[in-house]
């Protein structure tokens, strides 16, 4: 994986000093909180309901054991012994003291990590396919481009105050495991007829209160022009977005108001100008970065056999293990969704177990997925049993990847100052309702996503079943949505009808799931059945 040189290190160190000075000025009363707020936000520091929350970037979801151990150390030293993996390949700490935040950033800098631009109106952490570098179906590893985009978008002077946040996602497979078209700027790496690498470009996506799926603006952008193109997109948006209503300033709104064709025209016109400035990074820099992402030294001649004689292990393998591009290897998913637990939460001790496993069994690599799970990307099939045993001991061996209990949920009203309703207890009640493993297995792939407010951090627009918590005359109310997806056939979920209270939403979800079990055709997932029959039958089953 990528390694900082002294330039990268100097930039991150400078940011720590910068933030230390800003924090000092705030605590000394030399700055109002109104002035401090955008500065701390650009360092991932939010003021939440009970304390400051710090969001740390995990660029393109990749980290090593040393970094994971540092995250554990921070959880133990500066927080309450745990962290929370988010839906954007970041980790959040919920109980931070302002005066300690600069020290945490300094600790992170020692392991080549940071919280730069993880919040605020800035270009956020670049996300990527969490199977990158391991997936059997990828064109190339997308992470060198993601790292180059990280550098391109770090402290871009012209875009110091964008109208709103801006999220980039890079994938390199036909299958979309990263919800690419739900980002402001989605890129899919492709090869053209001449064998050259380039990007399909998808601007204008995003969730929030006004969801839009990104549209394809380019079938093929030569890879070495990506920085010019990105600057053109940002400039058109920065100049022409509304500035009078924070809820209408995301790029997706401008795309919608101008129309896709006109937005593309303006971008292409600006792009032709920006190209002449010669700011694109050269091939030599791509090559330098790509060298860090050379595949690890996979052994050859390994057995493809997995000893399935332990039935509990076999269940885990069937659910958590994905195909790897190297013979004899597998991708092992680590669930952070225990029934009754909090989606994405992990204790310092568990982080250390996972770090040890990565070091010993996965070429020292780990991934965080947007579904709030972890991944050991390169495990020898013959080692899977040992990995599973260690995960069992650590309480991390749930076999529920993509099943009904693998629920994405935002922190909700338990933590978040924006939330209107709690997400965590709803996720817990649903998981408990469907706890029976045989029933989960029978239901099959079903992605439930829960947000505690319309900002949609819990991705409810993309849920096969989505749940949106709202405040209705002072009480929590939950709307039910069906048919969303973040995969390569991206769709936006639709509301079924009137909302429910906390107990009612769990029953409603169960009625929808049982209706699916009755009417499904062989081999159909919940989403397939919904797409075949539409909303009406489900509505009847849900509302009676």
């Amino acid at each position: 994986m990528y390694k900082y040189d002294h330039y990268d290190q100097a930039m991150v160190d400078a940011r720590v000093a910068d933030f230390r000075d800003q924090t000092r000025r705030r605590i000394a009363g030399l700055m109002t909180d109104d002035q401090f707020k955008p500065l701390r936000l650009k360092n991932g520091l939010y003021l939440q309901l009970h304390a400051y929350m710090l969001r740390v970037a995990i660029p393109y979801g990749t980290l090593n054991s040393r970094q994971m151990r540092k995250l554990a150390h921070i959880a133990r030293t500066y927080d309450r012994g745990y962290g929370h993996f988010t839906t954007r390949q970041n980790i959040q700490y919920n109980w931070i003291k302002l005066e300690q935040a600069p020290d945490i950033l300094a600790e992170l800098a020692t392991v080549e990590m940071h919280a730069i631009q993880t919040s605020g109106e800035s270009i956020r952490n670049v996300s990527a396919d969490h199977y990158a570098g391991a997936a059997a179906d990828e064109v190339i590893d997308p992470r060198p481009w993601a790292e180059m985009l990280r550098q391109m978008t770090t402290f871009m002077p012209e875009f110091s105050y964008l109208p709103r946040k801006f999220k980039i996602c890079v994938i390199a497979s036909d299958e979309d495991r990263a919800a690419m078209r739900w980002h402001d700027f989605g890129l899919r790496i492709v090869r053209n007829g001449a064998g050259e690498i380039g990007f399909e470009v998808y601007p204008g996506g995003g969730m929030g209160r006004t969801p839009f799926i990104a549209y394809k603006a380019r079938d093929f952008l030569p890879a070495n022009q990506i920085f010019s193109y990105l600057q053109a997109v940002l400039r058109v948006w920065n100049r022409h977005a509304r500035r009078d209503n924070i809820h209408k300033q995301r790029m997706k709104i401008l795309v919608h108001e101008l129309g896709e064709e006109e937005f593309t025209r303006q971008v292409e016109e600006t792009f032709q100008h920006v190209l002449t400035l010669g700011s694109d990074f050269p091939q030599a820099e791509y090559d330098r970065i790509a060298a860090y992402f050379e595949p690890p030294a996979f052994e050859t001649g390994l057995s493809e056999e997995i000893d399935r004689s332990d039935p509990d292990f076999a269940v885990w393998v069937d659910q958590q293990v994905a195909e790897h591009k190297a013979p004899g290897y597998a991708i092992a998913n680590v669930s952070l969704k225990p029934v009754g637990g909090i989606a994405g939460d992990i204790s310092a001790e568990q982080m250390e177990v996972v770090a040890d496993l990565a070091e010993r069994y996965s070429f020292d690599e780990l991934r965080a997925s947007h579904a709030q799970n972890l991944v050991l990307p390169h495990v020898r099939k013959q080692d899977l049993y040992a990995v599973w045993q260690a995960l069992v001991d650590a309480g991390l061996a749930n076999a529920n990847l993509d099943l009904v209990t693998d629920i994405i949920a935002c922190p909700g009203l338990d933590y978040c100052s924006l939330a209107n309703a709690r997400s965590i207890p709803v996720a817990q009640r649903i998981a408990e309702r469907f706890e029976d493993e045989a029933r989960q297995k029978d239901i099959g792939e079903l992605k439930i996503k829960i947000s505690g407010c319309i900002n949609a951090c819990g991705h409810h627009h993309a849920g096969h079943i989505g749940i949106l918590g709202v405040d209705r005359k002072g009480t929590e109310n939950y709307q039910l949505l069906l048919g969303g997806s973040g995969d390569e056939n991206t769709t936006q979920a639709k509301i079924t009808g009137p909302g429910f209270d906390e107990a009612g939403i769990v029953d409603a979800v169960e009625r929808a799931v049982e209706h699916y079990r009755v009417i499904r055709e062989p081999g159909e997932r919940f989403l397939d059945t919904y797409r075949r029959v539409g909303m009406d039958g489900f509505k009847e089953a849900i509302y009676g």
Partner: protein
């Protein structure tokens, strides 16, 4: 462009005026973009956040001062305005006015701003720290800073 590393306070009555140029400042008040087009002798023009700076490009030869207003620090349109003017070859003064915070000046300098007249005076010591904080830059901008990728590949210099 006349460059100077240290800002010097300018004309009386403008205590908040930080200037990184050594030429003589234009002394006539800046007029609105529309007024500028109607007044063939005007040399100072003011661009509001919603104005289109590209309208000024055909007239840059007579411009000595462009004021770019930041009605609130969250409104970042002025950053693009300065870039567009510099990319069009304008070498005169670009002054940031309005809600200009010390933590933004570094990025404004990189976009081509070379003077500042903020609503609220900027602390010089804090400014000096902020301007000298970052030893490198990752990307080209309107200044002459060499991006990190270029430092990494000296063999590509001038190529």
């Amino acid at each position: 462009m006349a460059e100077s590393g240290n800002p010097t306070p300018q004309a009386a009555g403008e205590a908040n005026y930080l200037r990184f140029r050594e030429d003589i400042p234009a002394d006539e008040p800046a007029v609105s973009l529309d007024a500028f087009f109607e007044q063939p002798n005007a040399v100072s023009v003011r661009i509001e956040a919603g104005d289109d700076p590209e309208r000024l490009i055909p007239h840059l030869a007579r411009v000595r001062l462009v004021e770019v207003d930041f009605p609130k620090f969250r409104d970042g349109r002025g950053f693009s305005t300065a870039r567009i003017l510099r990319e069009a070859g304008y070498t005169g003064e670009i002054k940031a006015t309005g809600d200009v915070l010390v933590d933004l000046v570094y990025f404004m300098r990189r976009c081509g701003f070379d003077s500042f007249a903020p609503d609220v005076a900027i602390d010089r010591d804090v400014l000096e720290g902020a301007l000298n904080r970052y030893p490198y830059v990752y990307q080209h901008a309107a200044d002459d800073a060499v991006p990190i990728w270029q430092l990494r590949h000296p063999e590509l210099a001038n190529g």
